[in-house]
């Protein structure tokens, strides 16, 4: 288990290196410069000084080598659009809000999704199942900014129950978290329902019932664990996406998070910021994927993590 994890981490670092390389060169191919816009009026001398300061006067491969050297020592450089501020400082300032919101959304998505999925799978009333599946279909097909705005209008403006801007109190989390969670809730509901229906047809459910085990225990003790395997494989990457934030939701609710930072850095050609955030998101995804595989192996004993040495 430990050896497997270490091996996966080593592969992960190689993946990150490849990711950084590709991003770096792609980013340089895109036309434009961090000193466009209002900075375009700068005198040639100042511009040269700026270029020299950020090593932009050197050839691209040279720039890349310098970047790598610094990155290995933990120096990801200063933001190019916000002078004198290290990108790590900006990330440290914005990431906590995004991560907290993402985690809340993740917990909501899992609990509500699994519960609704089980309800839809087992309800004897056909209309309940149809209603749940209808809502789930809407949740998948309607873009998040639409229902985020709908929530804001209904609960924030008309009813005035919930605050709209920022993340100051727990109440502030409700609307943005639900806006983020609605899509994954819908996905998980559908996943759990179909997976549960499939599992309940399996022979081992009949055997469990033949022991006189009450239905509720058959569902929770025998079916749920089997039915969660596909949910876990979906939930892993979902967690990575949720804790890296959403530009749309963060802009709508005026949350100073990392999601909006990422989009802004690309439009501003803030090279150092793009690189740092790409590497950050990449490492999240890699770590979460390793955790997912470990968790699946934990739930399903048939999954072998390490191939037997042949």
């Amino acid at each position: 288990m430990l050896r497997y994890t270490l091996k996966r981490l080593a592969v992960g670092i190689l993946t990150l290196a490849a990711l950084a390389t590709i991003t770096f060169f792609l980013m340089k191919i895109i036309p434009g410069s961090p000193f466009g816009g209002e900075l375009a009026q700068l005198s040639p001398e100042v511009r040269e000084m700026l270029y020299a300061q950020y090593n932009l006067d050197k050839s691209i491969p040279e720039q890349f080598l310098i970047y790598l050297q610094n990155a290995v020592t933990g120096d990801f450089g200063d933001s190019m659009t916000r002078k004198g501020t290290a990108v790590t400082t900006i990330i440290a300032r914005c990431l906590p809000a995004t991560m907290k919101l993402g985690l809340v959304a993740f917990i909501i998505a899992i609990t509500v999704g699994v519960t609704l999925g089980i309800v839809a799978a087992f309800t004897k009333r056909k209309w309940v199942e149809n209603l749940v599946m209808f809502v789930a279909t809407i949740g998948i097909s309607v873009p998040s900014f639409l229902y985020a705005m709908l929530l804001m209008i209904v609960f924030g403006v008309i009813l005035g129950w919930l605050p709209i801007i920022g993340l100051k109190t727990p109440l502030h989390y409700i609307m943005p978290a639900f806006s983020l969670a609605l899509y994954p809730i819908s996905m998980i509901t559908r996943l759990v329902r179909s997976s549960m229906k499939e599992v309940m047809k399996q022979d081992y459910i009949v055997l469990a019932r033949s022991k006189g085990t009450p239905m509720i225990k058959v569902i929770l003790g025998h079916a749920l664990k089997n039915c969660l395997i596909p949910v876990v494989t979906y939930a892993g990457p979902l967690l990575a996406f949720l804790i890296t934030g959403s530009f749309v939701i963060e802009s709508l609710f005026s949350i100073p998070g990392i999601g909006s930072e990422f989009v802004n850095s690309v439009t501003n050609r803030d090279y150092t910021m793009i690189m740092a955030l790409t590497i950050l998101f990449g490492s999240f995804i890699i770590i979460v994927n390793i955790l997912t595989d470990l968790l699946v192996a934990f739930i399903d004993p048939r999954v072998k993590l390490e191939k037997k040495a042949s």
Partner: protein, 335 residues
């Protein structure tokens, strides 16, 4: 009083093609301490009749009528008149406790994500008050009883770490856990190698001797029946077409279907060719009005197609439903 007495049990399944009448009014009984065989080919209703008794029919299945008297208690859902919760409650107390089932396929009937121990102690947890230590002790005993070596290690393992024969033994151990009065074995050897088949049948016989339970052995293999059962019911097209002591069925088969089945069994002493029964079982969505076997029967008469033959007793133990055994004097063939 019989341990199990089924009267006129009728079970059907709702399907997209229509209602499948899988079990069409069967009656049978099992005494304490005897092994009774139910023989028939796939789709004859033998398994579904026993799933009906256990209350384990799939969701689209219903018991339409009939009485199931188990150990003096009426356990047919018909009496509950649609109150599924009350029926389920009654059966939860019986299943795995006084009546248990051994299933067909050891590969698919054990839960892949739970340890053997967890699955084995579950009936005990449901029906007996035992401490964790007692449960473990009993689990070890059960595995030893069904002949699994090093039970302590096996208990910690998962189904995929055991061989097919081993898993079938675990399934048997689960069925035995609460010392049931009646064990229903649904083709317990079908999915196993021939060498292990004999061992499993021996094991079931041995355990019956020890516990005095009644056993219903569902099979399509007359060889298995010969080695284990005292009495046999032959099922075809959702009906019991012949019943008798194992000897009566073997040496004086009366129903053409029984004779056909016997002709399918390889007999090394008489070097005769195997004779398969041509044709296939009847469509139970539109079950035939007459004898279900009529289309495959080489002795079929006019009346066979029109009317289901009544049960005719040939001795105290031997009975058959076939117009051939009706006395010509009754004149029914002429109709």
């Amino acid at each position: 009083m019989s341990l199990l007495e089924i009267k006129n049990l009728t079970t059907s399944f709702a399907t997209e093609q229509g209602k499948v009448q899988a079990v069409r009014g069967i009656s049978l009984s099992v005494e304490q301490g005897e092994i009774v065989g139910i023989v028939g080919e796939s789709g004859s209703g033998k398994s579904q009749s026993m799933y009906s008794v256990m209350g384990l029919l799939s969701e689209n299945g219903t018991i339409e009528s009939g009485s199931i008297l188990f150990d003096g208690q009426e356990i047919s859902p018909v009496q509950f008149d649609g109150n599924a919760a009350a029926y389920e409650k009654l059966m939860e107390g019986i299943r795995g406790n006084s009546m248990s089932m051994i299933f067909q396929d050891p590969m698919s009937f054990l839960n892949p994500v739970l340890t053997i121990e967890k699955q084995l102690v579950e009936p005990l947890k449901n029906h007996k008050k035992m401490s964790a230590a007692e449960l473990h002790q009993k689990a070890v005993e059960l595995l030893t009883q069904v002949g699994i070596p090093s039970p302590e290690e096996r208990l910690k393992q998962y189904p995929h770490q055991l061989s097919g024969g081993m898993r079938q033994r675990v399934i048997i151990a689960i069925a035995l856990a609460c010392n049931p009065k009646l064990i229903i074995a649904d083709e317990p050897t079908t999915a196993l190698d021939v060498t292990i088949q004999a061992k499993i049948i021996e094991l079931i016989k041995e355990l019956k001797e020890k516990t005095g339970s009644g056993v219903i052995l569902i099979t399509h293999d007359l060889g298995v029946v010969a080695s284990a059962c005292s009495r046999v019911y032959i099922m075809y097209g959702g009906k019991i077409v012949e019943t008798g002591l194992a000897d009566e069925i073997y040496y004086q088969p009366q129903h053409p279907y029984t004779s056909g089945l016997l002709a399918c069994v390889n007999n090394p002493e008489e070097d005769t060719e195997l004779r398969p029964i041509p044709g296939s079982p009847p469509d139970l969505i539109k079950p035939p009005a007459g004898c279900p076997f009529v289309d495959r029967c080489d002795k079929a008469m006019k009346i066979c197609k029109m009317k289901m033959p009544p049960e005719r007793k040939l001795s105290d133990t031997h009975a058959v439903c076939c117009w051939l055994t009706e006395k010509p004097a009754s004149g029914k063939e002429g109709e």
